[in-house]
Symmetry: C2
Subunit: 127 residues, 2 copies
């Protein structure tokens, strides 16, 4: 029997991993808030100023309630936005922690408000 | 040695599953197109007409290039949209297959254009 003990352990690990996989799909989980913002910068596309802006925006993922911060590029022809950021929060309290965090407040005041020409925020949940 | 052969197989399976997990996070994969549309219906919220509309919209997931079709509820206060649909396509050809599919064309003409008051489409990729 002792030869099969490692197998039992591995099957248990494999089953656990399969369960984890199922809960981590590209569709957001129920109740998770997906926060998206799409925007147009005053900087030329591909410029150093654009890269610096994006680096500062993405750095906000260090706020510990932010999940899955992702920088995206808008590719459709049906709006005027060029870039986007998507992130997720477990609940509204975690979202509020991000919104009110000094790093976020400072970024909005000193970077966002000065460099973003137009934007739209869309937040959604799966019910 | 023969006792360890099943272990080798299981380790291989576990490694494969771990790899699959890593490529299936809540952040979209590089190059995958995420198509999102947010909208306001002429129907009252929670009405049977709204439910019927959503059922017909979500039924478009039967078009075989559509991945991860998800109906979402807009919860932010910063735009006028109430509902949304998110889905993904492997590439532009798959997206075009969806756009040009008779079921989609018919839905847009006979349902969407008659029942949607306002909408915005945002499509993005992770580069």
């Amino acid at each position: 029997m002792k030869f099969y003990r490692p197998i039992v352990i591995l099957v248990t690990v494999a089953m656990f991993m399969l369960t984890s996989c199922e809960s981590s799909t590209n569709s957001p989980e129920k109740g998770i808030i997906t926060h998206t913002v799409f925007f147009k910068l005053k900087h030329p596309k591909g410029s150093e100023a654009e890269k610096e802006f994006l680096a500062q925006a993405v750095a906000l993922k260090s706020i510990n309630t932010v999940m899955n911060m992702t920088q995206v590029t808008e590719i459709g022809q049906k709006n005027d936005f060029d870039l986007g950021l998507t992130m997720q929060f477990k609940n509204q309290a975690d979202y509020d922690t991000y919104s009110n965090h000094p790093d976020h407040v400072e970024f909005v005041k000193n970077v966002w408000d000065k460099e973003v020409v137009d934007f739209m925020e869309i937040d959604y949940i799966v019910e």
